[in-house]
């Protein structure tokens, strides 16, 4: 059963369950227990699985290790402590591993000093960086506590000798579990844990450590897994309340539309500089990597009066070299910095020393993420976590105001946890086959005990076995290229060939290789690199910034991009697009609800001051922010009123507004104000564009935002349907068809094929370039699209629809339209887009839905050539 911890233990009770030497050490160092220690130490010592969620700096890690060290010393007392691994600590970050190593060193050596007769408890780090000599040493004298990463754990499970040392495992700690549950690294780990359990002599105790996350019950199930179809027992220790929070929304100006950008930007830096000056150390989050450098650059100018300012402010992001990052972290720990600017790299729990203020520029897009970031402040217990949200965009202002209200009410948004990833499963099956010959049903049960696979069907499992055993290849080649053999009659499978182990160990992991594409001008001059994910979104004609200059995208071939300089023109695609986080569905719906509420207040004639005041109160916004939000909503209200709409028909959580306008090129943009977040809108817009494309027989463009989406029609083509047309349609089928020829399917399939070991990144000593992977994936995709139920293609679609997009909520929205719970109000063509539509229209083109058939495209092309030839003839004739 998954239960919440109710019982709080006293210092005496806790000390009693610890080994005398540990108790002595603990009471010499600490006068009292931290909240997680009060609740969790005793249950852990009794061998219960525990999930601890608590802010940074509340002694979570020590909570986990106190009991473990105690038990290890007791074993030593009884002469039972052998040269074997008893505890495995897994964290997603190598840097965190090194911190933990050092943090454990302190109690271990101090206990040893205080009680010299006791044996030394050994601990060691093992990651991909660990040299062979150190690994050999670990085999000779295994650490009692092994500190590792999910990937390395996956590898050592198949290491022929070292795995024997893992059979004695009695505790597993998963740190920063909140950052693992939402992605495939976590899925990968969940299977490794079950494989470790299968290997271990006894049932081990699982301890999960997490920052703020919701729903805790699901995360607990992820940690402990399933047995006989039911989740194993787990105790949830939630001490998120251990630190108070103090949040506020700040806008540098009152009018976020008409104030010149230079002025807004100047005031913003001044506002942030003031916060930095008022505090000892400020952590500033931007939403993009490029943003961090920009903020550091500008902020310095406003930090007059701070001595030696160049040394007191630094950037920290994942594009920096490991060496530079380490240097910055050390400075931070020593308290030498006044401000540090980060994108996501400081979200996770490496020990970052003293932070007394967190500033977030722009919206962090989810209540949970906001709290996780703010939780980095006030490192010592009993200090308040202080966070300031600085906004310079009206949608952001509205978003963050509602976010703060929800955070203060303690209503968190739910995390999405990927299910049934068949590519990760394929990796593990190869790993399992390397270990031993398996009874397929037994292996199936093992897999189903991992949370993400609890609903896996036998058919799905078997399809992966069939794929890996080379079922769709010709018989003669199976011996050479099959990774496993599978005997469906006998129901067994095992390793095939001598390469299986090497393939597994050298291709493990779930993070796709980063691709950067080279950009050249038409005359062959190299101008720089772009991320592939960014390229995925570009279409010919788009203008973007690279190296501070504007270029127009012409074409891409393989990993080579051709552009034309467009220095004097404005970019049409923001450079940071690919890094944009999607707004969570839960928060989006609450913003929509809030919009509706304000519209009603305005309609009832409530005075502006009063509404501004209520916005200020709910989100602790400054005057400027509250007014900016109010003005945004009142502008929209007045425009819609002018169109003749009554307040019931204005966009809210119950009404989706649809409007169409014609741009200067004559293209029609049908804008749908569906405030459900980008993941849901991505699914809705593509399905609708596909359906709409069927009606007009042309290719349509889409632009997707958190607040809605636009479908872009070519010149002279008018929309015939709106979002209401999705009622009664099979959304999944439509979406699948819409994805058919898209760049995103090609890219995601490459990732899936690499994870599923169809494209090996490392093979027979060769590393396969991403370029080659990409070309191969395109060919593969063409071929596997004709195989029914091919597991890796199925997974690519699943990943796109469920993890990248949010088809579940898209279905929910369509269901609500069908039931009348949500109404669609279409105002048709209007001369100027409404204020809410501005950000959607500025978005430009996100993707294309291929609809026009080949023949029609060919005929149009032939016509173009005919015109060209006639023109040529005329020119010559003159």
């Amino acid at each position: 059963m998954i239960r919440r911890a109710r019982r709080e233990y006293s210092m005496e009770e806790v000390l009693q369950v610890l080994h005398p030497a540990v108790a002595k050490w603990f009471s010499s160092k600490f006068k009292s227990l931290s909240p997680p220690q009060r609740y969790a130490v005793v249950p852990i010592s009794k061998g219960r699985n525990v999930l601890v969620t608590s802010p940074t700096g509340t002694g979570k890690t020590l909570t986990a290790f106190l009991s473990i060290i105690s038990r290890l010393l007791e074993m030593a007392d009884r002469g039972e402590l052998e040269d074997s691994v008893y505890a495995v600590y897994v964290s997603p970050l190598r840097a965190l591993n090194n911190d933990i190593y050092k943090n454990l060193e302190v109690p271990l050596s101090e206990i040893k000093e205080m009680s010299p007769d006791l044996p030394k408890i050994r601990h060691a780090v093992r990651t991909g960086d660990t040299p062979t000599s150190e690994r050999a040493k670990q085999l000779r004298k295994p650490p009692h506590i092994l500190i590792t990463t999910p990937e390395t754990l996956g590898i050592i499970l198949t290491a022929p000798k070292f795995r024997e040392k893992l059979r004695t495992v009695r505790w597993v700690i998963v740190d920063e579990i909140h950052s693992l549950v939402e992605n495939k690294r976590g899925v990968h780990l969940s299977l490794s844990l079950e494989r470790l359990q299968h290997l271990a002599y006894q049932k081990f105790t699982r301890i999960g450590l997490s920052a703020t996350i919701n729903p805790l019950e699901e995360v607990a199930k992820f940690l402990v897994g399933y047995e006989n179809g039911k989740p194993r027992d787990c105790l949830i220790v939630e001490t998120s309340w251990a630190k108070a929070i103090d949040l506020a929304v700040l806008s540098p100006v009152e009018d976020l539309v008409n104030t010149p950008p230079e002025v807004t930007s100047e005031r913003m830096y001044k506002l942030i500089a003031d916060l930095v000056k008022e505090n000892r150390t400020t952590l500033i989050f931007t939403n993009t990597r490029s943003g961090t450098e920009k903020v550091v650059f500008h902020l310095k100018k406003y930090l007059d009066g701070v001595e030696n300012v160049d040394e007191k402010i630094a950037a920290h992001h994942s594009s920096l070299s490991r060496y530079v990052r380490k240097e910055v972290e050390d400075k931070l720990k020593r308290g030498d910095l006044r401000a540090i600017v980060s994108s996501t790299s400081l979200e996770l729990g490496i020990d970052i020393g003293y932070i007394d203020m967190v500033v977030q520029i722009g919206s962090p897009k989810s209540i949970t993420r906001a709290l996780q970031r703010i939780g980095r402040a006030g490192h010592k217990l009993h200090e308040v976590s202080r966070g300031r949200f600085v906004v310079v965009d009206r949608d952001d202002a509205l978003e963050v105001a509602v976010m703060v209200r929800e955070a203060l009410r303690g209503r968190l948004d739910r995390v999405h946890m990927p299910k049934k990833a068949l590519d990760v499963l394929a990796q593990h099956i190869v790993g399992m086959a390397v270990e031993q010959k398996w009874d397929a049903k037994e292996a199936f049960e093992l897999v189903r005990s991992a949370y993400p696979y609890k609903d896996l069907t036998w058919e799905e499992f078997e399809s992966v076995l069939r794929y890996l055993s080379g079922e769709f290849t010709q018989l003669e080649s199976r011996k050479v290229y099959g990774k496993i053999w599978y005997d469906p009659e006998e129901g067994t499978f095992g390793r095939r060939g001598k390469y299986a182990r090497v393939i597994y160990a050298s291709n493990i992991g779930t993070i796709p290789d980063e691709v950067s594409v080279k950009v050249y001008t038409t005359d062959g001059k190299y101008v720089g690199n772009l991320e592939e994910e960014f390229l995925e979104r570009l279409v010919p004609g788009d203008r973007f910034v690279l190296g501070g200059k504007v270029y127009e995208f012409i074409s891409a071939r393989g990993l080579r991009v051709k552009v034309r300089p467009a220095f004097d023109q404005k970019p049409t695609v923001p450079a940071w697009f690919s890094e944009m986080l999607p707004l969570s569905y839960d928060l989006a719906v609450r913003i929509a609800e809030f919009r509706g509420w304000v519209f009603r207040r305005i309609d009832e004639g409530v005075p502006a001051d009063e509404i501004v005041e209520s916005i200020r109160e709910m989100s602790n916004a400054n005057e400027q922010a509250a007014k900016a939000i109010y003005n945004y909503l009142v502008d929209q209200y007045l425009y819609l009123k002018h169109l003749g709409l009554s307040v019931e028909d204005m966009p809210s959580d119950k009404v989706i507004l649809v409007e169409t306008y014609v741009d200067e090129d004559g293209r029609r943009h049908q804008v749908t104000h569906s405030l459900f977040g980008r993941r849901t809108n991505d699914a809705l817009s593509r399905a609708l564009a596909y359906l709409a494309g069927l009606k007009v027989r042309r290719n349509l463009g889409i632009a997707v935002k958190d607040t809605g989406f636009a479908i872009i029609y070519p010149r002279g083509v008018k929309p015939k349907i709106n979002i209401g047309a999705l009622v009664g349609e099979d959304l999944e089928e439509l979406l699948k068809k819409a994805l058919d020829k898209t760049e995103i399917l090609r890219r995601r399939f490459r990732h899936v094929a690499a994870r599923g070991l169809m494209i090996l990144r490392n093979y027979k000593g060769y590393e396969i370039s991403v370029n080659k992977q990409q070309l191969s994936a395109q060919k593969l995709l063409k071929v596997v699209q004709e195989i029914v139920n091919f597991p890796l293609l199925k997974e690519a679609y699943r990943e796109i629809m469920e993890d990248y997009m949010d088809i579940e909520h898209a279905k929910e929205v369509v269901g609500k339209i069908a039931s009348g719970e949500i109404r669609v109000v279409d105002v048709g063509e209007i001369p100027v887009p409404t204020p809410f539509a501005h950000n959607i229209v500025l978005e430009g083109l996100s993707d294309l839905i291929f609809m026009e058939d080949k023949m029609a495209a060919l005929r149009r092309f032939q016509l173009a050539i005919k015109n060209m030839i006639e023109e040529e003839v005329q020119v010559r004739g003159r």
Binding site: F472, T473, Q474, E476, S477, V480, Y481, T522, V539, P540, G541, I554, S555, R557, K562, R698, N699, L700, G701, I712, P714, R715, L757, M758, I759, L760, R761, N762, Y763, K764, Y766, I768, K772, Q773, S776, K779, L780, K782, V783, V784, E786, I787, L845, L848, F850, E852, K854, M855, A857, L858, R860, F861, Q862, A864, I865, N867, M868, I869, E872
Partner: protein
């Protein structure tokens, strides 16, 4: 001369180019697992064409197989199977050497076929792969070539595209020159509209694009249609 989406029929002769058999295993050797789909499709395309034209002779204008450095099992198997099928149908086979065909010779020798290197002349027709420069003999009127894998990618104003294979027709040293599309379904082709770097074949590089006619060839639509001279086709596609 009859063009069909995969090749050309000329007076009892059926010519195709660039089969690249064994491509899947060549990729497998590099750690990429591609299902074996190519040969069945090539076989089907060949059988259809033979059924339609009843040729006496089939000429493969180079690159029968893919792997440069060796002859893979798959290549032995598929090449021999193709030859057996043609023989069963009573069709003679001629093979012109392509740049990928180094290790094809032992496979062919096993069934008593001599590879034509560097080209094959049949009456006034010359068949040559095209990876090296060549000079046509005097009595040749038409040269049939492979190697280039020509294709065109069509894009509309929004940037959406379709890729289709193509023939190229031009003149070289006063002879007609016909470039065949690749028969291999795994070779979608080189977009001649975008090939600002120039052609693969040395012979084509010396020819003015305004003198090269582009013919689109698509097996799904089952058509071969003339589009126009390459310079205008490129301009219409908005790439020049």
């Amino acid at each position: 001369m009859k063009l069909f989406p995969y090749g050309v029929y000329l007076d009892g002769l059926l010519a195709v180019a660039d089969l690249h058999l064994g491509y899947e295993d060549a990729l497998r050797e590099r750690g990429i697992e591609l299902p074996y789909e190519q040969y069945p499709r090539i076989k089907k395309a060949m059988l259809n064409a033979i059924g339609r034209f009843s040729p006496e002779k089939v000429i493969i204008v180079g690159d029968v197989k893919h792997e440069f450095g060796t002859a893979l099992n798959q290549e032995w198997r598929e090449v021999l199977d193709l030859i057996r099928i043609l023989r069963d149908l009573g069709v003679e086979l001629e093979v012109v050497r392509g740049n990928h065909d180094n290790f094809l010779i032992p496979i062919l020798r096993k069934v008593g076929i001599e590879i034509r290197d560097p080209h094959l002349v049949e009456g006034n027709l010359m068949f040559v792969h095209g990876h090296k420069p060549f000079i046509p003999p005097d009595d040749v009127d038409l040269i049939v070539m492979g190697h280039e894998h020509p294709a065109i990618a069509l894009r509309d104003e929004l940037g959406a595209g379709h890729k289709m294979k193509a023939f190229l027709r031009t003149k070289f040293m006063d002879r007609e020159l016909l470039v065949l599309p690749a028969l291999s379904p795994l070779a979608p082709g080189t977009d001649v509209l975008q090939s600002y770097g120039g052609f693969l074949s040395p012979v084509l590089r010396s020819i003015d694009p305004s003198k090269i006619q582009v013919l689109v060839a698509d097996h799904e639509l089952d058509l071969v249609e003339e589009l126009g001279p390459l310079n205008l086709v490129r301009r219409a596609a908005g790439v020049v």
